[in-house]
Symmetry: C2
């Protein structure tokens, strides 16, 4: 089996591009469609009902554009809306970023004390507490909200100096108290935060492992694509299987170069700046899109 349709990803803004980068690295033959809802970011301080409605619109748009699988590349939307989206689109495998990130953190800790830096809505959901405890119920999970960092990152202020004070205020409480009782692993529970990873590591100023969900999520997607027979024709696995079934004759379907599309509900110029930083000059031009209720 093989399936040339693209993989869809959405986020409240530009943070999910960190997940897209890992997806393209892991699955270079697959086409992708990314939608960032920068016009309505941040999600982390919105009500659950709003996040659910926006997530519906984004996922509907991706389904209309024919994706074969979807990543909710936003921790807040994963925490609040993942099951809802899975009920809404039963035929599409939908992956969130929380469980893969939780698994990475539970594996990384040696002392069994994991900190989670996330948005208010994600912390409120207790989704990371549940997911990390499911991986290893012996782990202590200390969650802290830092929603204020997201608009700074969205506006492009990602260098250490510009948001240094905000980052120090956010991670400071993880460093208080008896060193023996402190976390040894910090999970970046918002896909925007890897964009300021360097500044976070510097602010921690201690031997604390900093993990995020991008690599683990892309790795899980790869597994889901393989297990459900969704590889694109011409991808290494797909080609080998096709050739095998046909007695080593040439595959009928030629490998097709993957197509990558990036859409935003906000200002495409701002997204392009980050896309070029993450993907190089070959990054697709970001195009503006209007969604659901804003379309009318």
């Amino acid at each position: 089996m093989s399936d040339p349709r693209p993989i869809g990803l959405f986020d409240s803004g530009i943070g999910g591009l960190t997940v897209l980068r890992e997806v393209q690295a892991r699955l270079p033959a697959e086409s992708t469609i990314y939608i960032g809802d920068s016009a309505r970011h941040p999600y982390g301080t919105r009500s659950d009902a709003e996040v659910r409605r926006f997530s519906e619109e984004l996922s509907d748009e991706l389904v209309e554009r024919g994706v074969k699988a979807m990543i909710v590349a936003c921790n807040t939307a994963t925490a609040v809306a993942l099951e809802h989206l899975r009920e809404r689109h039963p035929a599409i495998p939908i992956i969130g970023v929380i469980r893969p990130g939780a698994a990475a953190a539970a594996l990384a800790t040696r002392t069994g004390r994991v900190g989670v830096l996330a948005t208010v809505a994600t912390v409120r959901s207790r989704a990371y507490f549940a997911a990390i405890k499911d991986e290893n119920p012996g782990t202590r999970v200390i969650e802290r909200a830092a929603s204020e960092l997201v608009p700074l990152i969205e506006s492009g202020l990602t260098s250490a100096r510009e948001i240094s004070d905000a980052i120090h205020a956010a991670v400071g409480p993880f460093l208080v108290g008896d060193p023996g009782a402190r976390i040894d692993t910090l999970l970046l529970g918002c896909t925007h935060f890897p964009l300021i990873r360097g500044a976070i590591v510097e602010a921690l100023g201690a031997p604390i492992a900093v993990v995020d969900s991008a690599v683990a999520t892309a790795s899980f997607l790869q597994e889901v694509i393989a297990v459900n027979g969704l590889e694109t024709p011409g991808s290494s696995r797909g080609t080998a299987a096709d050739a095998g079934h046909r007695g080593h004759t040439a595959p009928t379907s030629e490998p097709v170069a993957p197509v990558h599309q990036i859409f935003t509900t906000g200002d495409p110029v701002a997204v392009d700046a980050l896309a070029v930083r993450l993907f190089g000059e070959s990054a697709p031009r970001t195009r503006q899109i209007t969604l659901g209720s804003n379309r009318r």
Copy 2:
């Protein structure tokens, strides 16, 4: 590290004994304490608030008796109260039966269509839907409630003839419609149901894999015990590690024979009948216990 304290398990009644059996098979050196709340069964048709309160009382009793880890050996209590109990007892690793069962079902299916037979409260929680989708989001999950089977099993009517009609009514809807669209795996989403597994397989009358969470849960417990350094002294892993650290001299702590205790809030004679069936004549005598609000 090693830890001689017992492992605790609780259930709404006798169903969790199927999990206890697998725990003893996997971890023969570990002591166990089991409490079944048969006086207040079934949980599956109660409100979430009631299930949460009863689960608090059962878990508090196990913690007071000094357990080092706990299995919520009841699907309803896992679905409704697991995270609540983890917040209540942060120092004790607490394992539910839903995720291990979901993992077993997601691995077992070839067609990607899994049926779940559970109680009303478990189905209402959508916990199996979420857990199976987390394992493989490409799986279709069809849930059906069959709470009516639990009181029949609790009253000892487990032979095929006695509850045959009820079982046929419960599984019948899984067999309706186009055979190509039917489930190929049925997950027994209640720890009571493995006690009537034979009758369920017979009623299905089709090549459908029937899986339950007992083996997978015991296997996960074994991992949690090992990863968190909680093995009892004298268990095979514990002894080897101790000997290694001491240059192959004899371990200072002699292996101690495990102690198993079974308590019920209901009639001990009825529980004994099943315990002897599952564990043989060496089964510990079931003792009656009074919990929380009923204690006064």
